[in-house]
């Protein structure tokens, strides 16, 4: 793995964030105007691709390490990566199942939700992903202070997201889980996602604590990488859930 310099990695992170932000804005604009569901269905895949490649470093899975000693840290690290990604693959099927249920039950309708709140929590999660990436880049270059700051921001934004969805949206929604189908789908999708965000926050908190105790170095920081990749994954899921719940289709009865 060739080492990028820290500043260029940070720039790349910012660039990706910019692209994601623009795509999200485009989504929102399309939803308010033409509501072409075909476009709204494609954009999340582009966003997910960007995050998978630039933030989650999916290519690291395919690095060749045949000749490395099997007891070495590098080999074990690569093994851990495979384990983590297999877990994400498995998790993807839950969210896929939820999406299929949503498509089957609601089709081109959506629950009646507060648009600006949806955009707000999406933005919060997007920014948190940017800082998660920044935290990892900082750790790789050995900048512990920057790492601690970034990971704290990520975590706080995660908590803010949870408050936004569970504290505000769940309370203000004009329906309960048992009112109608749209309500049922809304609560189960946000519920499963929020549970993952919550576990992500816990992982970040553990990493923050251990980072503050100086347990990670620029070479050995699997904990940081794992929790950040997991965090990005949760973010990617929201890329799909956000248009599915807030944007696509007309209001359900």
């Amino acid at each position: 793995m060739e080492h990028q310099t820290k500043s260029s990695a940070m720039q790349l992170g910012l660039l990706v964030f910019g692209a994601l932000a623009i795509l999200t804005a485009v989504e929102f604009a399309i939803a308010l105007t033409t509501n072409l569901w075909q476009v709204l269905a494609v954009i999340p895949f582009i966003k997910a691709g960007l995050v998978l490649y630039y933030y989650m470093h999916i290519s690291r899975l395919f690095e060749n390490d045949e000749d490395v000693d099997k007891e070495s840290f590098a080999y074990k690290l690569a093994t851990n990566r495979i384990g983590l990604w297999l877990f994400l693959l498995s998790d993807m099927f839950i969210f896929g199942g939820l999406m299929i249920s949503r498509i089957n039950l609601l089709g081109l309708t959506r629950p009646d939700l507060i648009q600006y709140l949806g955009l707000g929590v999406t933005t919060i999660l997007l920014i948190s992903s940017f800082f998660a990436n920044r935290a990892e880049v900082s750790m790789e270059s050995g900048d512990r202070r920057q790492f601690l700051v970034s990971i704290s921001i990520t975590m706080s934004l995660g908590i803010l997201f949870l408050l936004g969805v569970l504290g505000v949206e769940w309370r203000l929604a004009p329906f309960g889980p048992s009112t109608n189908l749209a309500g049922a789908i809304f609560y189960i999708m946000t519920g499963f996602h929020a549970f993952h965000v919550f576990s992500g926050v816990i992982f970040l908190a553990i990493v923050l604590r251990n980072g503050a105790h100086g347990l990670y170095s620029s070479e050995k920081h699997w904990g940081v990488e794992a929790s950040v990749v997991y965090w990005h994954f949760v973010d990617v899921v929201w890329f799909f859930f956000y248009p599915a719940l807030y944007l696509i289709g007309s209001l359900a009865k």
């Binding site: 099997k70 080999y75 690569a78 093994t79 495979i82 384990g83 297999l86 877990f87 693959l89 498995s90 998790d91 099927f93 839950i94 199942g97 939820l98 299929i100 249920s101 089957n104 039950l105 889980p177 048992s178 109608n180 189908l181 309500g183 049922a184 789908i185 609560y187 189960i188 553990i206 604590r209 251990n210 105790h213 347990l215």
Partner: protein, 610 residues
């Protein structure tokens, strides 16, 4: 007292009881504080059971290592050298111990599930209700299905865990802690699953279709929760298997030099890693529908009962391949040893496992031909289902090719392998009539399906499973199982089972529906049912012989520490039982795995340290 508490399992169980009580207390307390009716049994028991499972896992110490890591400490490897028998009753990180723990749990679960079957099989010996009420019958029948399924999943995990690291020359699994955690999650899950009997049972069958499952007694919640948790354990264990097989192989062990069982296990694990989430999700959706009134499957709220069936079968059909692929792997693994010939067409057999697994993802709709799903889906599902015959055929012909011109010997494991082939053939051949829609409309939900299914399960799993136990028992214990008792077991079980399953198919064709507590005497199937009950008891007697054999041989069996079967597989090249970290010296693969009959060929060579 302290000594008893130091046994992991006891500690776990005590914590589970505590957790359940705490969960019930918390939920009732919250409801009281919110001003709702405090005692709502359904939510209280669900929350209690969930917390109970978590407490169990914590109490037994399956998460100790992770807590240490999370709090910034080193998590040392456990030194289990002097633990003796206690290793088997608590958290151990050794894959061989975990494998044997899985094996014992599997046997326990299958004995429980099997005795349920004996109860209702006896009930069916005559028309009318003899000694079970309708609710008891339905609960036993439903639990028989799911307890057996969990038992089989656990048994599959047993052999994957026990064998794969040894076969590929690894010290242990890739993630030993995750391995232990996955196992100890299944234990409370099984307890919760069976506890559904105490909470009113349920009358939905193992499929738990809504809206019926929305109306069933609270027992169904324990069923859903137990299966979800056990599913979680399966997912984690298959994740571990895949990573291990990908990353921990000895030098020179390339893909097509892997023991064939590893191929089957990989295909199996790919399925359970991904698809299991959907049975969990579908069951959880019904749980939420019951708890919070969410109307996913409630037609009155616009929900779609068919959606559940799609989600459910997306796992539950491939699940069948999860059960049989390792079993077929065991058949392919053992045949060359007892025919003293190379496995015929190794690459084809290896790839056919993946072929079955991949096609398996595309065929779930054949369970729903009569369900009222979209009509245009029937034909593509019919075609994809028929295609399963192709890779399955490859396996059969390869087995025949392996036997051809061999020097076949017939010790007990070989008998079970052969019975497995014959029974799986019966199961396989009765598959296509279920694949073509028109004939399936007659067959679905009848005893024909029950017969077909039991044939595939016994042929693809139960018989190979016993073959594997007889074959690897010396590796596990250093003693052999008694051959005579083994043969009695075999001859009690095999003809009886073939009679049982064939008659099941016959009465199904004649009009006996599945899952019924009583049947119409005018169908003329009463005598068949009596014969089946007798056959059932003979099978039970066979299993009893096996248990006696196992307990007796554990202490008094013939000592066998060497290469009992004259196998080429790596694990047999060292004395039994294996030491804690498997091989003292690492090995290198220098030849093909099944080159029996090629003089002076070697599969592995131990690397001498300089």
């Amino acid at each position: 007292m302290r000594k008893i508490y130091s046994i992991g399992l006891v500690r776990g169980l005590l914590w589970q009881i505590l957790g359940t009580a705490v969960g019930i207390g918390i939920l009732t307390g919250i409801r009281y504080l919110l001003g709702l009716t405090p005692w709502k049994p359904e939510s209280a028991f669900v929350f209690g059971a969930l917390l109970g499972a978590l407490f169990f896992v914590y109490g037994i110490g399956a998460v100790d290592g992770w807590i240490k890591v999370a709090s910034g400490k080193e998590a040392p490897e456990l030194d289990e050298t002097n633990w003796g028998r206690a290793r088997y009753f608590g958290v151990s990180l050794d894959h061989k111990v975990i494998g044997i723990q899985y094996l014992v749990l599997s046997l326990v679960l299958m004995l429980v599930g099997g005795s349920f079957a004996m109860l209702f099989r006896t009930e069916l010996a005559n028309t009318g209700l003899q000694f079970l009420t309708l609710m008891e019958y339905n609960t036993l029948m439903s639990l028989h299905g799911m307890v057996m399924i969990v038992g089989i999943l656990v048994g599959v995990a047993a052999f994957m865990n026990y064998l794969i690291p040894m076969m590929i020359g690894a010290r242990d699994m890739a993630f030993p802690r995750l391995n232990a955690f996955a196992f100890w999650l299944v234990v409370p899950a099984s307890i919760i699953l069976i506890s559904s009997m105490a909470l009113g049972g349920f009358d939905t069958g193992w499929t738990g279709y809504p809206p019926l499952s929305v109306r069933a007694p609270i027992g169904i919640q324990m069923f859903f929760l137990g299966v979800s948790l056990a599913g979680m354990g399966t997912i984690l264990s298959s994740l571990n298997v895949i990573t291990t097989a990908l990353r921990m192989r000895a030098k020179g062990m390339t893909g097509f030099r892997l023991p064939i069982f590893v191929w089957g296990s990989l295909a199996t694990s790919m399925i359970s890693l991904t698809a299991t989430q959907l049975i969990g999700l579908s069951f959880q959706m019904v749980m939420f529908e019951r708890l919070f009134g969410m109307g996913f499957f409630d037609p009155a709220k616009g929900g779609n009962p068919i959606l559940f069936q799609h989600l459910f079968w997306f796992y539950s059909h491939p699940a069948v391949y999860v059960f049989v692929l390792p079993g077929l792997g065991i058949i392919s693994e053992l045949l060359p040893v007892f025919a003293r010939k190379p496995l015929y067409g190794y690459k084809w057999v290896a790839i056919s496992s993946f072929g079955i697994a991949l096609i398996g993802f595309l065929v779930w709709g054949h369970h729903m031909f009569a369900s009222g799903m979209a009509e245009y889906l029937r034909v593509p599902f019919m075609y994809s289902t028929l295609l399963v015959a192709v890779p399955t055929g490859v396996k059969f012909f390869s087995w025949l090719g392996t036997l051809w011109r061999g020097k076949i010997v017939f010790p007990v494991p070989m008998l079970f392998v052969l019975a497995g082939i014959v029974v799986f053939l019966l199961g396989g051949l009765t598959g296509p009539p279920n694949a073509t829609v028109a004939t399936d409309l007659q067959l679905t939900d009848t005893y024909f399906i029950v017969g077909h299914f039991h044939d595939t399960m016994f042929g693809g799993y139960i018989f190979p499973f016993f073959a594997a136990i007889y074959y690897w028992f010396p590796k596990m214990t250093g003693r052999r199982l008694n051959e005579t008792l083994g043969k009695i077991h075999f001859w009690l079980m095999t003809p009886a089972f073939i009679t049982l399953s064939t008659l099941m198919m016959r009465i199904g064709l004649l009009g006996m529906r599945r899952r019924i507590a009583d049947y119409d005497p005018s169908l003329g199937v009463t005598i068949d049912n009596r014969v089946m009950t007798v056959a059932g008891f003979l099978i039970a007697l066979g299993i009893l012989t096996f248990l006696i054999n196992a307990f007796w041989s554990l202490r008094h069996g013939e000592i066998a520490t060497g290469n009992v079967w004259n196998s080429r597989s790596p694990e047999w090249q060292v004395p039994s039982p294996m030491p804690i970290h498997n091989y003292d010296k690492p090995f290198e693969v220098v030849g093909e795995p099944y080159d029996y009959g090629l003089p002076d060929s070697q599969y592995i060579k131990f690397i001498e340290e300089e």
